[in-house]
């Protein structure tokens, strides 16, 4: 049972120490070729959630230098610098309203920065799952919403039976016949993922995919991301989720700076406390820097 497999993997993680956890996340970067192998992918296709792989990802993924964005008379962020390595999973954290979603919109070319550079590698196919789940059509069934009524759908470069694809997002049997308007928040979230990941991407931009999910689905999403042969940037507030998957953390800190850290959330927190001292224990109200 795929559920049991995911529980075993989580228990193994629970029993390991912080060092072991770090090493495991890091190993993902070295094992990138293995993740890409047909054999590895077919072993994971039966996972509760399975994200279809896109084309093979090259070495250059995303490079951001000196990025700056203002909003009215407020400075949202400035001097944002990071390089996303091949195979990495970057957890993005910070208080609401600091510009995390704006970064995604800039990477997707939906918004223009006020300064700095973004370079996206030639092999990169971005898959963007935004936060708005309003574009789902309430009058359609789950299956219709994803498949457009087609029995066979195209995922990137290959074809798959649409019912099997929808099933990979944990919509089993009669669940696929449920009307979108009757879905819970967590189910809408999964449907949204299924619909948007259909395009077959090798770099995912996921904006708060962990909201409203129960622990079973969170665990399944973790397994899906760990098996995904690409890179992912994931905005999330779920510390456990971030600790399980993240190879890097991009943190919007309270003073307005954006820090890129190699390691998972816990590792980042240790580093932050060393940098900021005792004050770091309590968060502070968001104060946007004003432009002169």
């Amino acid at each position: 049972m795929s559920n049991q497999k995911a529980i075993k993997a989580e228990l193994e993680w629970v029993r390991s120490n912080p060092k072991g956890r770090q090493a495991k996340n890091k190993a993902r970067l070295q094992r990138f070729d293995e993740l890409n192998s047909q054999e590895f992918q077919s072993r994971n296709e039966t996972n509760e959630i399975y994200i279809p792989p896109g084309a093979r990802l090259g070495d250059k993924v995303i490079e951001v230098a000196g990025l700056r964005k203002t909003f009215g008379d407020r400075l949202l962020f400035d001097e944002v610098n990071f390089v996303v390595p091949k195979g990495s999973i970057v957890g993005i954290i910070g208080a609401n309203g600091m510009g995390k979603s704006t970064l995604f919109r800039i990477l997707m070319d939906l918004e223009t920065p006020d300064g700095g550079n973004v370079v996206v590698g030639d092999t990169v196919e971005l898959g963007y799952v935004d936060q708005s789940r309003d574009d789902l059509d309430g009058s359609k069934t789950v299956w219709e919403e994803v498949s457009d009524g087609l029995d066979i759908i195209r995922i990137g470069s290959y074809e798959v039976a649409s019912r099997s694809y929808v099933g990979r997002f944990n919509f089993k049997g009669s669940d696929q016949q449920k009307f979108v308007k009757d879905l819970s928040g967590g189910e809408r979230n999964r449907l949204h993922l299924a619909k948007l990941l259909k395009q077959g991407a090798n770099v995912l931009l996921l904006d708060e995919p962990t909201n409203d999910l129960d622990v079973e689905t969170l665990r399944a999403l973790e397994e899906a991301l760990l098996a995904f042969p690409g890179s992912a940037l994931v905005i999330s507030h779920d510390r456990w989720f971030l600790d399980r998957i993240a190879t890097h953390i991009l943190a919007y800190e309270d003073d307005g700076s954006v820090v890129f850290h190699e390691g998972n959330y816990t590792d980042y927190e240790v580093d932050r406390r060393q940098r900021q001292g005792a004050d770091a224990a309590v968060p502070s109200r968001v104060k946007h820097r004003r432009l002169k």
Partner: protein, 277 residues
């Protein structure tokens, strides 16, 4: 203090047309227990909390709150007072302390009246001073600031009608935590909080001396702060003593024994929570 802060005896809930969302739940809650509630969507978690909060009275069986126990409940979509700004709403959580401070000011003024009854005033003064002491009322400003920062509240003078859903929830949570009830019932308290605020809330609840019953998917909270997991499965309530890791171990064992398809877990009677008796 009572042996249990709350007891449920064979509580069930049926919603029309005939869906039994809670079945035969019998549980007794110890004072000071920290309980995480887990279960799939639609397993009746919010309904259970509404019954415990005394908001849903349409259920079968008996449920009883111990005498003198003050309950604080955070709904999924909490209501704020639209007449007041952010600060006014949060201050409602400290109303008793604020009233005591104002009352004391009035007494000081009354002493100066020519026909003042000094005995009566002194008696009233002592009463108010006790409340001020117990409620730490001299530190109101500091406590308001700590809560506002930790939960990243919008500016004090913001009109609550203009706030986002997430901001409204954070204001309601601050108001609730400052009111220091004996039993906190929290329906998804970590939704709309960022990682740092969740970490702060986790420590706050760990240190909180009252009972906490929280519906949450935050596994660090369930692992670090919870002493019990109450799993709702097809209407039944199954208590586990231990944190998330312990519950996960138990779950794996349960799956290994593989309950045949369609067999429902048995109902449980349980006492939940490690007592601070």
């Amino acid at each position: 203090m009572a042996q249990y802060v709350y007891t449920m005896n064979r509580v069930g809930k049926i919603v029309p047309p005939k869906k039994e969302i809670l079945k035969d739940i019998s549980l007794s809650f110890f004072p000071g227990a920290k309980i995480g509630v887990l279960g799939l969507n639609g397993s009746g978690k919010s309904t259970l909390l509404k019954i415990m909060a005394g908001i849903d009275n349409e259920f079968n069986g008996d449920a009883k709150l111990a005498d003198g126990i003050k309950v604080g409940y955070l709904a999924q979509e909490p209501q704020l007072n639209p007449e007041k700004d952010v600060r006014g709403n949060v201050e409602e959580g400290l109303q008793e302390a604020i009233d005591a401070l104002a009352g004391l000011e009035k007494i000081y003024a009354d002493y100066a009246e020519p026909d003042a009854d000094f005995d009566a005033l002194a008696k009233e003064q002592a009463k108010l001073e006790d409340i001020i002491q117990a409620k730490d009322a001299h530190n109101l400003e500091t406590r308001l600031d700590i809560a506002a920062n930790a939960l990243r509240l919008p500016p004090w003078d913001a009109d609550v009608g203009t706030l986002s859903g997430g901001e409204q929830r954070r204001v309601a949570l601050a108001r609730l935590l400052l009111s220091e009830p004996d039993m906190l019932l929290l329906d998804e308290p970590t939704n709309h909080l960022d990682a740092e605020s969740v970490a702060w809330l986790e420590h706050f609840l760990e240190d909180f001396s009252g009972t906490v019953v929280a519906i949450t998917h935050d596994r660090y909270f369930l692992d670090n702060a919870a002493g019990w997991i109450l799993e709702l499965d097809r209407g039944r309530g199954i208590p586990y003593e231990g944190n998330y890791s312990v519950w996960l171990e138990a779950k794996e064992k349960r799956l290994e024994q593989e309950l045949p398809q369609g067999v429902e877990p048995k109902g449980h009677q349980g006492r939940i929570g490690v007592g601070q008796v």
